[in-house]
Amino acid sequence: MLWLLFFLVTAIRADLCQPDAENAFKVRLSIRTALGDKAYAWDTNEEYLFKAMVAFSMRKVPNRETTEISHVLLCNVTQRVSFWFVVTDPSRNHTLPAVEVQSAIRMNRNRINNAFFLNDQTLEFLRIPSTLAPPTDPSVPIWIIIFGVIFCIVLVATMLLILSGIRQHRRKNKGPSEMEDTEDKCENVITIENGIPCDPLDMKGGHINDAFVTEDERLTPL
């Protein structure tokens, strides 16, 4: 009699967990892809851990704090490794609604993944979409900072060049304007002997003798 009852109970429980059953979810693991040589074998102990993690996730849902490991049923474990699971209520006659299980798993996805050294792609819960990590958005986009730096550098360099050009123009304009041409030439082609630039002596129209002026500047001031 007792054996009959036991078989009946297991039969009922087996009915609750079936592929494509109501409120059942398929789980797929890719352990060798994730871990390579360090892959562990999927055995009943790992299944026990999985049941524990699911039960833990359900316990975090209000009104479901009494979920036990024995309430989580696994079935159809394949070589892949993939299996189906359901979570039953304390009476073990009904399965908990899919929505509750879904939200519970989503909340604790990270911890479940870490328990098995897997991630969202290698531990898949079909029909439970994972929440993707939001991109770290800094308050000011990085590219604007770098753009600003380079823009300022280029602007400053341009300003410096323009200002020095204007200063040179003013210095030139102080001399007679016709001499601008020879000065232009001298700016580009300056012969230097003994460290003294040889400007032609008639450059400034005889007003200043450059050879003497340069010599004065080389003497140390008093």
Binding site: R28, L29, S30, I31, R32, T33, A39, T78, Q79, R80, V81, S82, P129, S130, T131, L132, P134, P135, I142, W143, I144, I146, F147, I150, F151, V154, L155, A157, T158, L161, I162, G165, H169, E178, D181, T182, D184, K185, N188, V189
Partner: protein, 592 residues
């Protein structure tokens, strides 16, 4: 007293300026494409032949004219013959069009450079959709690199008619690009001469680094083997020869007036024959060198995509048949597929439509050129390398150097004639002239930062310079040899430099090169006429791929205007001179 012309401080600066101008983005993104399309290693044969027959002579011609006439393009051709003043103006106009759209590439390179300082690279991941359960749809359909280019960089509209608004981010980058160019040309040869040391040498450093990196990538040898296996039958294809000639022609930047401008700042006794040969050889070697790098990167990308495709198929089969994880590998894939097809025929036939045929060949055959190569294919390869930020920064820095180097030549082509003109340079200092030119180009360039800007960019890229340049160089060569007189030019040149013109150059200038250009010109005209309607590639956001559309009448009008304005300058210039001469003769006749 004649104002003395500014000179290059050393002849090395001149060589570097020419190299930095000639070695540009076309060497990196056009030559590898041509190599792939026209027979791989065997494309080098028409390429070298055209270099010797067309490239070197025409380059030498331009440098010789510039050095002899010592003026920008307008003044130089006016000295050759007063009826040729239109040629110089046409050169300046084409350079102006080129400047306007070329700097937009530098703006995009800046944009990518600034975005390379993030982890992960923004084009390596798709952004998340609203409720964070998946990725944005457009990004899923296309790839993340395409999404970043078409949506984040260009924010492209579905067709050229929908112009959209000016995008402020590319607009800012364009302003920065023009500021950089202005900084380099501000002082004329004094500043340009220093900058070209960097723009000529640094890209080679980066290319060498990339060569070492590229050759050590997994799968690089696939790309190199694919590229260098010669397909000899392509030698019989006339298109290979025509494209080789076109590539040499445009790669050296003939006809824009930049080479004349650079050479005009030379010492009269400069040995520009040696320099012409050096520059053309270096330009072509750089093309070949860059294509080695490009093909190792192609090989890496193709191998990576091929292996991901295989992994996707393996995952699909593993999941559908609940096979053991790790059982299916690339080696036993075919046998297992056959086994599954026989063991579970019904299930297999369900899954079969989703199984893609992965082929390394088809990945390698996707030949891309232009902005697609530079900003999509390369970034896709870079995102899969280790320390991808470093490689990305290096790559876009190199693109910038190449682009800015070419821009220096382009702006010199416009600024030199302007500064030579006594009318303008007496009113404004050279800083102001450069500033005005850069400002005008920047303002017009804002068109390319609109949502439809990339389509306008393609129009300018394809039509602004091609036909006009061929005509300009043809008129230049014929005019110099027959109008001015080859013998007269030869004796003047010998007096100036002390070296005689060898017979080879005379034969090329007088006969071979003009004939070659005429045949190119006829080919292009007939090609345009035969194709009928002109079409362009538009980005369809819903499908996540490019679709072909016809150009609307406004775009066709702009294309016609672009070609017409520059080509019409030549006959109009001649006509103008003729009329002024007739009027002057009419004025003087009664007095006589």
């Amino acid at each position: 007293m004649e104002k003395t012309r500014p000179l290059w401080t050393t002849p090395l600066q001149f060589v570097f300026a020419c190299i930095s101008y000639a070695v540009g983005l076309g060497n990196v993104w056009r030559f590898p494409y041509l190599c792939q399309m026209y027979g791989g290693g065997s494309f080098l044969v028409p390429y070298v032949v055209m270099l010797v027959v067309e490239g070197m002579p025409l380059l030498y011609l331009e440098l010789a004219v510039g050095q002899r006439m010592r003026q920008g393009s307008i003044g130089a051709w006016r000295t050759v013959s007063p009826y040729l003043s239109g040629v110089g103006v046409a050169s300046v106009l084409v350079s102006f069009f080129l400047c306007t759209y070329y700097n937009v590439i530098n703006a995009w390179a800046f944009w990518y450079l600034f975005h390379s300082f993030q982890d992960p690279l923004p084009w390596s991941v798709c952004p998340l959709n609203g409720n964070r359960t998946g990725y944005v749809e457009e990004c899923e359909k296309a790839s993340s690199t395409q999404y970043f280019w078409y949506r984040k960089t260009l924010n492209i509209s579905p067709s050229i008619q929908e112009s959209g608004a000016v995008q402020w981010e590319p607009a800012l980058c364009l302003v920065l690009a023009w500021l950089v160019v202005y900084l380099c040309v501000l002082r004329g040869t004094a500043s340009t001469g220093k900058v070209v040391y960097f723009t000529a040498l640094l890209p080679y450093c980066v290319l060498i680094i990339y060569l070492v990196r590229g050759l050590t990538l997994h799968g690089a040898t696939n790309g190199l083997a694919y590229m260098f296996t010669p397909k000899m039958e392509q030698l019989a294809n006339p298109k290979a020869w025509i494209n080789a000639a076109t590539q040499i022609f445009f790669s050296l930047g003939l006809g824009f007036g930049s080479l004349i401008a650079f050479a005009s700042y030379n010492e009269p006794s400069n040995n520009c024959q040696k320099h012409a040969i050096i520059v053309s050889i270096i330009n072509s070697s750089t093309s070949i060198f860059a294509s080695i790098v490009t093909f190792s990167i192609y090989g890496f990308k193709a191998t990576f995509n091929y292996e991901s495709c295989l992994n996707k198929v393996i995952l699909l089969l593993t999941n559908s048949f609940d096979l053991e994880d790790g059982f299916l590998t690339a080696n036993n894939l075919e046998q297992v597929k056959d086994y599954l097809a026989s063991a579970y025929p019904s299930k297999y036939s369900e899954v079969f439509p989703q199984i893609r045929n992965c082929s390394l060949e088809s990945e390698l055959e996707t030949a891309v050129q232009g902005t697609g190569l530079a900003f999509i294919v390369y970034t896709e390869a870079i995102k899969n390398m280790e320390v991808s930020q470093l490689w990305s920064v290096l790559y876009f820095f190199m693109l910038l150097l190449l682009g800015v180097g070419s821009m220096l030549g382009n702006t010199a082509a416009i600024l030199t004639p302007l500064m030579d003109s006594k009318l303008i340079s007496s009113y404004l200092p050279k800083e102001a002239i450069s500033g005005l030119v850069c400002l005008t180009n920047c303002a017009i360039g804002m068109v390319f930062t609109m949502e439809a800007g990339s389509y306008w960019f393609d129009i300018f890229n394809d039509y602004a310079a091609t036909l006009s340049l061929l005509l300009i160089v043809l008129v230049e060569t014929v005019a110099l040899c027959y109008l001015y007189g080859l013998r007269r030019f030869e004796s003047e040149f010998k007096a100036m430099t002390g070296r005689a013109l060898s017979w080879y150059w005379k034969v090329m200038w007088g006969g071979v090169s003009p004939l070659l250009i005429i045949s190119l010109f006829i080919f292009y005209l007939s090609d345009y006429i035969i194709t009928g309607t002109l079409q362009y590639q538009a980005w369809d956001a819903a499908q996540g791929q490019l679709v072909t559309k016809d150009y609307p009448p406004q775009a066709l009008a702009v294309i016609g205007l672009l070609v017409a304005t520059s080509t019409m300058c030549i006959p109009l210039g001649a006509l103008g001179t003729l009329i002024t001469r007739c009027l002057r003769r009419g004025d003087t006749a009664p007095k006589a």
